[in-house]
Amino acid sequence: MSWAGPEDIYLSTSLASYLDRKLLVLLRDGRKLMGTLRSFDQFANAVLEGACERVIVGEQYCDIPLGLYVIRGENVVLIGELDTEREELPPHMIRVSEADIKRAQKVEREASELRGTMRKRMEFLDFD
Protein backbone atom coordinates (compact mmCIF):
# COMPACT_ATOMS: atom_id res chain seq x y z
CA MET A 1 0.00 0.00 0.00
CA SER A 2 1.54 3.31 -1.05
CA TRP A 3 1.30 6.38 1.13
CA ALA A 4 -1.36 8.87 0.08
CA GLY A 5 0.00 12.15 -1.24
CA PRO A 6 -1.50 15.48 -0.19
CA GLU A 7 -3.76 15.54 -3.30
CA ASP A 8 -5.25 12.16 -2.49
CA ILE A 9 -7.13 13.64 0.47
CA TYR A 10 -9.59 15.17 -1.95
CA LEU A 11 -10.29 11.89 -3.74
CA SER A 12 -10.23 9.22 -1.04
CA THR A 13 -12.66 8.24 1.65
CA SER A 14 -10.29 9.20 4.43
CA LEU A 15 -11.54 11.46 7.17
CA ALA A 16 -8.50 13.70 6.72
CA SER A 17 -10.55 16.28 4.85
CA TYR A 18 -12.80 16.59 7.93
CA LEU A 19 -9.97 17.34 10.39
CA ASP A 20 -10.50 20.47 12.51
CA ARG A 21 -14.03 20.85 11.15
CA LYS A 22 -17.22 20.91 13.16
CA LEU A 23 -19.00 17.66 12.54
CA LEU A 24 -22.16 15.77 13.38
CA VAL A 25 -21.52 12.16 14.36
CA LEU A 26 -24.45 9.74 14.39
CA LEU A 27 -24.00 6.72 16.65
CA ARG A 28 -25.61 3.30 16.44
CA ASP A 29 -27.57 3.92 19.65
CA GLY A 30 -29.25 6.91 18.00
CA ARG A 31 -27.21 9.58 19.75
CA LYS A 32 -26.13 12.67 17.86
CA LEU A 33 -22.76 14.09 18.87
CA MET A 34 -21.30 17.31 17.58
CA GLY A 35 -17.74 18.49 17.87
CA THR A 36 -14.44 19.25 16.16
CA LEU A 37 -12.62 16.29 14.68
CA ARG A 38 -9.07 16.17 15.97
CA SER A 39 -8.04 12.61 15.14
CA PHE A 40 -9.18 9.40 13.44
CA ASP A 41 -7.89 6.03 12.31
CA GLN A 42 -8.67 3.23 9.85
CA PHE A 43 -11.50 1.90 12.06
CA ALA A 44 -13.21 5.31 12.06
CA ASN A 45 -12.31 5.71 15.74
CA ALA A 46 -12.46 9.47 16.28
CA VAL A 47 -11.44 12.13 18.73
CA LEU A 48 -13.96 14.96 19.05
CA GLU A 49 -13.00 18.12 20.87
CA GLY A 50 -15.66 20.32 22.44
CA ALA A 51 -18.19 17.58 21.95
CA CYS A 52 -21.82 18.00 22.85
CA GLU A 53 -24.81 15.73 22.52
CA ARG A 54 -27.77 17.23 20.67
CA VAL A 55 -30.87 15.66 22.17
CA ILE A 56 -34.04 16.12 20.13
CA VAL A 57 -37.48 15.23 21.45
CA GLY A 58 -40.30 16.30 19.16
CA GLU A 59 -39.91 20.03 18.56
CA GLN A 60 -37.57 20.55 21.51
CA TYR A 61 -33.81 20.22 21.54
CA CYS A 62 -30.86 20.74 23.88
CA ASP A 63 -27.09 20.61 23.47
CA ILE A 64 -25.46 18.88 26.42
CA PRO A 65 -21.72 19.63 26.66
CA LEU A 66 -19.44 16.60 26.95
CA GLY A 67 -15.87 17.83 26.49
CA LEU A 68 -13.17 15.73 24.84
CA TYR A 69 -14.50 12.42 23.48
CA VAL A 70 -12.89 9.35 21.96
CA ILE A 71 -15.46 7.44 19.91
CA ARG A 72 -14.93 3.79 19.08
CA GLY A 73 -15.41 3.36 15.34
CA GLU A 74 -17.77 0.40 15.51
CA ASN A 75 -20.43 2.70 16.99
CA VAL A 76 -20.18 5.26 14.22
CA VAL A 77 -23.01 5.36 11.69
CA LEU A 78 -22.28 8.59 9.88
CA ILE A 79 -19.97 11.57 10.11
CA GLY A 80 -21.47 14.65 8.53
CA GLU A 81 -19.89 17.99 7.80
CA LEU A 82 -22.09 20.81 9.09
CA ASP A 83 -22.52 23.60 6.55
CA THR A 84 -21.98 26.77 8.56
CA GLU A 85 -23.98 28.80 6.05
CA ARG A 86 -27.13 26.84 6.70
CA GLU A 87 -29.38 26.49 9.72
CA GLU A 88 -28.48 23.38 11.67
CA LEU A 89 -32.08 22.82 12.66
CA PRO A 90 -35.50 23.81 11.29
CA PRO A 91 -36.55 27.23 12.66
CA HIS A 92 -39.67 25.95 14.44
CA MET A 93 -37.60 23.95 16.93
CA ILE A 94 -37.34 25.22 20.49
CA ARG A 95 -34.18 25.15 22.56
CA VAL A 96 -34.84 24.00 26.14
CA SER A 97 -32.76 23.33 29.23
CA GLU A 98 -31.04 20.04 29.99
CA ALA A 99 -33.54 19.26 32.76
CA ASP A 100 -36.49 19.87 30.44
CA ILE A 101 -35.13 17.71 27.63
CA LYS A 102 -34.32 14.88 30.06
CA ARG A 103 -37.90 15.07 31.30
CA ALA A 104 -39.21 15.01 27.72
CA GLN A 105 -36.98 12.02 26.94
CA LYS A 106 -38.36 10.16 29.96
CA VAL A 107 -41.94 10.82 28.83
CA GLU A 108 -41.15 9.64 25.31
CA ARG A 109 -39.39 6.52 26.60
CA GLU A 110 -42.29 5.63 28.88
CA ALA A 111 -44.79 6.16 26.05
CA SER A 112 -42.91 3.83 23.71
CA GLU A 113 -42.49 1.24 26.48
CA LEU A 114 -46.24 1.37 27.06
CA ARG A 115 -46.86 0.90 23.32
CA GLY A 116 -44.44 -2.04 23.43
CA THR A 117 -46.17 -3.82 26.32
CA MET A 118 -49.61 -3.22 24.80
CA ARG A 119 -48.41 -4.69 21.52
CA LYS A 120 -47.01 -7.72 23.33
CA ARG A 121 -50.32 -8.27 25.07
CA MET A 122 -52.12 -8.11 21.71
CA GLU A 123 -49.68 -10.36 19.85
CA PHE A 124 -51.08 -13.58 21.24
CA LEU A 125 -54.38 -12.69 19.54
CA ASP A 126 -52.55 -13.18 16.25
CA PHE A 127 -54.30 -10.58 14.11
CA ASP A 128 -53.23 -10.58 10.48
Partner: protein, 93 residues
Protein backbone atom coordinates in the same frame (compact mmCIF):
# COMPACT_ATOMS: atom_id res chain seq x y z
CA UNK B 1 -12.56 -6.31 -4.27
CA UNK B 2 -15.23 -6.70 -6.92
CA UNK B 3 -17.69 -4.26 -5.38
CA UNK B 4 -14.91 -1.87 -4.42
CA UNK B 5 -13.91 -1.72 -8.11
CA UNK B 6 -17.56 -1.47 -9.12
CA UNK B 7 -18.25 1.46 -6.80
CA UNK B 8 -15.07 3.21 -7.95
CA UNK B 9 -16.56 3.23 -11.44
CA UNK B 10 -19.77 4.74 -10.05
CA UNK B 11 -18.03 7.78 -8.52
CA UNK B 12 -19.85 10.92 -9.65
CA UNK B 13 -23.28 9.27 -9.90
CA UNK B 14 -26.33 10.08 -7.80
CA UNK B 15 -27.09 7.31 -5.35
CA UNK B 16 -29.33 6.78 -2.35
CA UNK B 17 -27.72 5.03 0.58
CA UNK B 18 -30.14 3.31 2.96
CA UNK B 19 -28.65 2.62 6.36
CA UNK B 20 -29.47 -0.14 8.83
CA UNK B 21 -31.06 2.49 11.12
CA UNK B 22 -33.55 3.19 8.27
CA UNK B 23 -32.04 6.61 7.48
CA UNK B 24 -31.86 7.09 3.69
CA UNK B 25 -29.50 9.68 2.21
CA UNK B 26 -29.36 10.80 -1.38
CA UNK B 27 -26.16 12.29 -2.76
CA UNK B 28 -23.34 12.18 -5.27
CA UNK B 29 -20.89 9.34 -4.73
CA UNK B 30 -17.59 11.06 -3.96
CA UNK B 31 -15.45 8.11 -2.96
CA UNK B 32 -15.41 4.59 -1.66
CA UNK B 33 -12.75 2.46 0.03
CA UNK B 34 -11.90 -1.18 0.60
CA UNK B 35 -14.35 -1.41 3.54
CA UNK B 36 -17.05 0.04 1.26
CA UNK B 37 -17.12 3.14 3.47
CA UNK B 38 -18.84 5.81 1.37
CA UNK B 39 -18.38 9.54 1.10
CA UNK B 40 -21.33 11.43 -0.32
CA UNK B 41 -21.51 15.04 -1.48
CA UNK B 42 -24.47 17.33 -1.92
CA UNK B 43 -26.51 15.18 0.42
CA UNK B 44 -30.11 15.45 1.33
CA UNK B 45 -32.04 13.13 3.58
CA UNK B 46 -35.03 11.35 2.03
CA UNK B 47 -37.43 11.94 4.92
CA UNK B 48 -36.08 15.33 6.06
CA UNK B 49 -38.84 16.07 8.62
CA UNK B 50 -38.04 12.91 10.54
CA UNK B 51 -34.34 13.80 10.79
CA UNK B 52 -34.12 17.53 11.59
CA UNK B 53 -30.53 17.23 12.82
CA UNK B 54 -29.39 16.39 9.28
CA UNK B 55 -30.64 19.68 7.84
CA UNK B 56 -27.29 21.40 7.37
CA UNK B 57 -25.26 18.30 6.49
CA UNK B 58 -24.14 18.56 2.86
CA UNK B 59 -21.21 16.12 2.82
CA UNK B 60 -20.88 12.99 4.87
CA UNK B 61 -18.82 9.90 5.50
CA UNK B 62 -20.81 6.70 5.96
CA UNK B 63 -19.22 3.71 7.63
CA UNK B 64 -19.52 0.68 5.36
CA UNK B 65 -20.70 -1.56 8.19
CA UNK B 66 -23.96 0.39 8.63
CA UNK B 67 -25.09 0.34 5.00
CA UNK B 68 -28.13 -1.77 4.17
CA UNK B 69 -28.63 -0.77 0.50
CA UNK B 70 -27.03 1.45 -2.10
CA UNK B 71 -29.78 2.41 -4.56
CA UNK B 72 -28.48 3.12 -8.04
CA UNK B 73 -29.97 4.63 -11.18
CA UNK B 74 -31.15 1.74 -13.39
CA UNK B 75 -29.09 2.94 -16.34
CA UNK B 76 -26.04 3.40 -14.10
CA UNK B 77 -25.46 -0.32 -13.98
CA UNK B 78 -23.97 -2.49 -16.70
CA UNK B 79 -25.37 -5.75 -15.38
CA UNK B 80 -23.62 -7.90 -17.98
CA UNK B 81 -20.24 -6.46 -17.06
CA UNK B 82 -20.91 -7.14 -13.37
CA UNK B 83 -22.13 -10.62 -14.22
CA UNK B 84 -18.90 -11.39 -16.09
CA UNK B 85 -16.76 -9.94 -13.31
CA UNK B 86 -18.58 -12.06 -10.71
CA UNK B 87 -18.05 -15.19 -12.76
CA UNK B 88 -14.35 -14.37 -13.08
CA UNK B 89 -14.03 -13.78 -9.32
CA UNK B 90 -15.82 -17.02 -8.56
CA UNK B 91 -13.48 -18.93 -10.86
CA UNK B 92 -10.34 -17.27 -9.50
CA UNK B 93 -11.32 -17.23 -5.82
Amino acid sequence: MLFFSYFKDLVGQEVTVELKNDLAIRGTLHSVDQYLNIKLENTRVVDQDKYPHMLSVRNCFIRGSVVRYVQLPPDGVDVDLLHDAARREARGG
